[in-house]
């Protein structure tokens, strides 16, 4: 690894952390699409800033572009408030318009601007190490590294200073307001941080990767934990992991670094989406299947409880009576046998004592909906878990 490679990975990792922090809150506050809107609509801000400063890394440009991001949020909220269109339509109307203005501004001044729309969308991380920051003749590292480092520092400071406020206002707006935290200040604070981070990361990784780095790690982490601190930590970890592995994937394929980082993020999300222990698709489908079987089991036990006649409890009759498929009937029967709820004598099914109490308890629970009675059953049956 040469120093440029290390620097690229370092920049990518810092960007990943800087994005993961606001991203987590955006996902929790159901405002993920706002980050997409911001990342597109800062384009005119960047273009205008570039006309003024002629330097893509100047602080003024970052401020101007971040301001455009906040203006986007304000505009979206204004349109939402008029009630003329539904909320998400407002987002969808504002950012393409602003983005178009940006694209047209670039196109009309193509000769004076060293700004390429493609690069704006995907960035060019590979070139980041070549733009050095030189202070009084001494080379102190790539400019992007410094910019994103400073933004990250500010973000972390704000996060630590206002962690409590952010947490409360994210999960309980009413409580936050009644405790005296202004929801508006926290909201616009978060929006400002998101905008600044987007702009700072924009140059290095482009608009789309910023969105991916904000949403994907947070969403992935959200599938694994419901603890805010753990979620933040996990999101940062996923961000850094995909940044570094994405870099090497790009190296391998000789393709865009931003694209491969996003692809890594996608693969991680896909894996977690499928295999997450409680909230993954496979776990959910297993739970749903299990619940279906258990409902059948309960129906079956109830039927047994209601009928003492031998002919009503014959194995073959049961299938006809409750109208189950053969396979399903077999699963249910086995489940009941395994739990010692029934005994089968000469193809006649009868409830055991355990089965009897279980049925009464379950029915009681379904009727009264009181949790206490089934505490001990929750461990064995999905049916009674939330």
């Amino acid at each position: 690894m040469n120093s440029a490679q290390i620097e690229i990975q370092l920049i990518a990792s810092l960007v990943a952390i800087a994005c993961a922090i606001p991203g987590t809150f955006l996902v929790l506050r159901k405002m993920a699409m706002i980050s997409d809107a911001i990342s597109h609509s800062i384009l005119p801000g960047i273009v205008v800033g570039f006309f003024i400063t002629q330097d893509l890394n100047s602080p003024l440009l970052i401020v101007l572009a971040a301001l455009t991001g906040v203006i986007t949020v304000v505009l979206v909220e204004y349109i939402q408030k008029t009630g003329l269109v539904k909320e998400d339509t407002a987002i969808g109307l504002v950012f393409p318009a602003l983005f178009s203005i940006g694209v047209i501004l670039i196109a009309k001044n193509a000769n004076d601007v060293h700004l390429d729309v493609d690069a704006v969308l995907v960035g060019e991380l590979a070139l980041a190490p070549f733009d050095r920051l030189i202070v009084s003749g001494v080379d102190i590292g790539p400019k992007s590294l410094w910019i994103i480092g400073i933004i990250l520092l500010i973000t972390i400071t704000l996060l630590i200073a206002f962690f409590k406020e952010l947490k409360v206002s994210t999960f309980d707006k009413g409580l936050a307001a009644s405790l005296g935290f202004s929801p508006a200040i926290i909201h616009y604070g978060l929006m400002t941080v998101s905008s600044v981070t987007t702009v700072g990361a924009f140059d290095a990784v482009g608009a789309i990767l910023v969105v991916a780095l904000m949403i994907a790690p947070a969403a992935t982490a959200y599938l694994l934990t419901t603890n805010l601190k753990k979620m933040l930590a996990l999101a940062m970890f996923f961000g850094i992991f995909s940044a570094i592995s994405g870099y090497w994937l790009a190296h391998l394929l000789d393709a865009s670094i931003a694209g491969s980082i996003t692809t890594m993020l996608g693969l991680i999300f896909l894996a977690v989406y499928l295999f997450a222990p409680n909230k993954g698709v496979i776990a959910v489908m297993y739970r749903e299947k299990q619940q279906r079987t258990e409902v059948s089991l309960l129906t079956f036990l109830l039927h047994l409880k209601n009928h003492n006649e031998v002919e009503e409890r014959h194995v073959n009759h049961l299938r006809e009576h409750i109208n189950w498929q053969k396979v399903r009937a077999k699963t249910v029967l086995e489940l009941a046998l395994k739990n010692n709820m029934i005994v089968v004598n000469n193809d006649i099914v009868s409830l055991t004592k355990k089965g009897d109490t279980f049925t009464s308890k379950a029915i009681d629970y379904i009727i009264t909906n009181k949790d206490a009675q089934i505490e001990d059953m929750k461990d064995d049956f999905f049916l009674f878990r939330g």
């Binding site: 996902v27 997409d36 003329l84 393409p96 969308l121 949403i215 994907a216 865009s256 694209g259 996003t262």
Partner: protein, 375 residues
């Protein structure tokens, strides 16, 4: 070329005619289907789908190695549909909300698409240039066969829309009721979503991945302001969309260095802003005017009620009082007084005013009407 020249050339020049027709048809079909997306609160779905289509284009190119726009669009369609159904899967099976799902699919698919595009660019194949036109679209690359394809798809959309109009409409406004009526809501839902995906994919070549969502939303959002009827809204959205296409093409053709996609989007946005402000029933302007008018009426009533209370204490209701008396009361202006005179509720005599019989009656009624309304 200026605008006038454009319109004189549009019927004779092959390229201009093709592009104009293409963007007009595209605007019409996206406006039509966009109405459904907007009303179903799926506005941002278009954004997600258009981004999600990119890897499909790249993969179709990698497989066929040819830049035939039909196969590329087929790839885009498949990948757009996968994206759509994945979004539904995420929302349905996990506790992630729809905005997160949209953002995820949008950025992840697009990033993957960019990876593939950059990968393709490095391939020793001279054929790959121009794939990136799908990012921002290039209306100039439209040829007659593309326009035919658009026209056929639009016709198909129209046919299906008319055929299942009742089903679409009822699903849109009351999904539960539709289910109880015995319609297969899932099939209707998939049908309409697939057509939305199809329309988006069609527009990629012209408007591009990034701005396609606006083509879907803007005409529909504008049309929504003018009517409360679905059929009128769909029709209006189609018209707005078509006009955005034509005007956008005209403006971009009349200037150098203006790509068509962004201009069309801006024209459509202008339609939206205009509708937001000037729509008679919902527009901001008329709302404000109504608001001011109501406030004036209210103040007029307040003044009248105030006069009534003074007059009440006198035996003769038309007993004159000085105007100064009204100064305590803030609702009073020379204009409101003039208005009251016009309505024949009050007579003025120099500095004195007196309530007329009619004015007294109205004021009394006003009061009782208010109390009955309060109850």
């Amino acid at each position: 070329m200026d605008l006038q020249e454009y319109f004189s050339l549009v019927f004779s020049d092959y390229t201009l005619r093709t592009i104009t027709l293409g963007t007009a048809i595209l605007g019409a079909v996206t406006g039509m289907l966009g109405s459904f997306a907007v009303l179903r609160k799926q506005s941002l779905l278009g954004d997600a789908i258009s981004h999600a289509a990119l890897p499909g284009i790249a993969i179709a190119f990698l497989i066929t190695g040819a830049k035939d726009s039909n196969t590329l669009l087929l790839g885009a369609l498949v990948s757009g549909l996968i994206g759509t159904f994945w979004i539904r899967g995420i929302v349905k099976k996990t506790h992630l909300k729809s905005d997160t799902a949209l953002g995820l699919i949008l950025s992840l698919f697009f990033g993957f698409g960019m990876l593939l595009l950059t990968f393709i660019q490095k391939q020793p194949n001279a054929n790959q240039a121009g794939l990136d036109k799908y990012l921002f679209g290039q209306a100039a690359t439209l040829v007659e066969s593309d326009v035919w394809l658009m026209a056929i798809v639009t016709g198909l959309c129209l046919f299906v829309l008319l055929l299942f109009w009742k089903e679409f409409k009822i699903l849109l406004f009351d999904a539960d009721y539709t289910k109880t009526l015995g319609f297969n809501t899932k099939v209707i839902d998939i049908l309409i979503t697939s057509f939305i995906v199809l329309a988006i994919v069609l527009g990629l070549q012209t408007v591009g991945v990034v701005l396609m969502s606006a083509m879907l939303l803007a005409p529909a959002a504008a049309a929504r302001q003018w009517t409360n009827s679905l059929s009128k809204m769909v029709l209006l959205a189609a018209i707005f969309g078509a006009f955005s296409g034509v005007f956008g093409t005209a403006i971009s053709a009349s200037q150098t260095n203006l790509s068509t996609g962004p201009v069309i989007v801006l024209v459509a946005s202008i339609f939206v802003v205009f509708s937001f402000v000037f729509s008679p029933s919902r527009g901001l302007l008329f709302k404000q005017i109504r608001f001011i008018k109501n406030r004036r009426d209210l103040e007029l009533h307040k003044t009248l009620a105030f006069m009534y209370h003074i007059a009440e204490t006198h035996e003769n209701i038309s007993h004159p009082h000085t105007i100064k008396l009204l100064n305590n009361f803030q609702g009073f202006t020379r204009k409101t007084l003039q208005k009251l005179v016009e309505k024949n509720y009050v007579t003025l005599d120099g500095n004195m005013w007196s309530l007329t019989e009619a004015g007294f009656k109205t004021a009394a009624n006003l009061y009782t009407k208010q109390t009955t309304e309060d109850e």
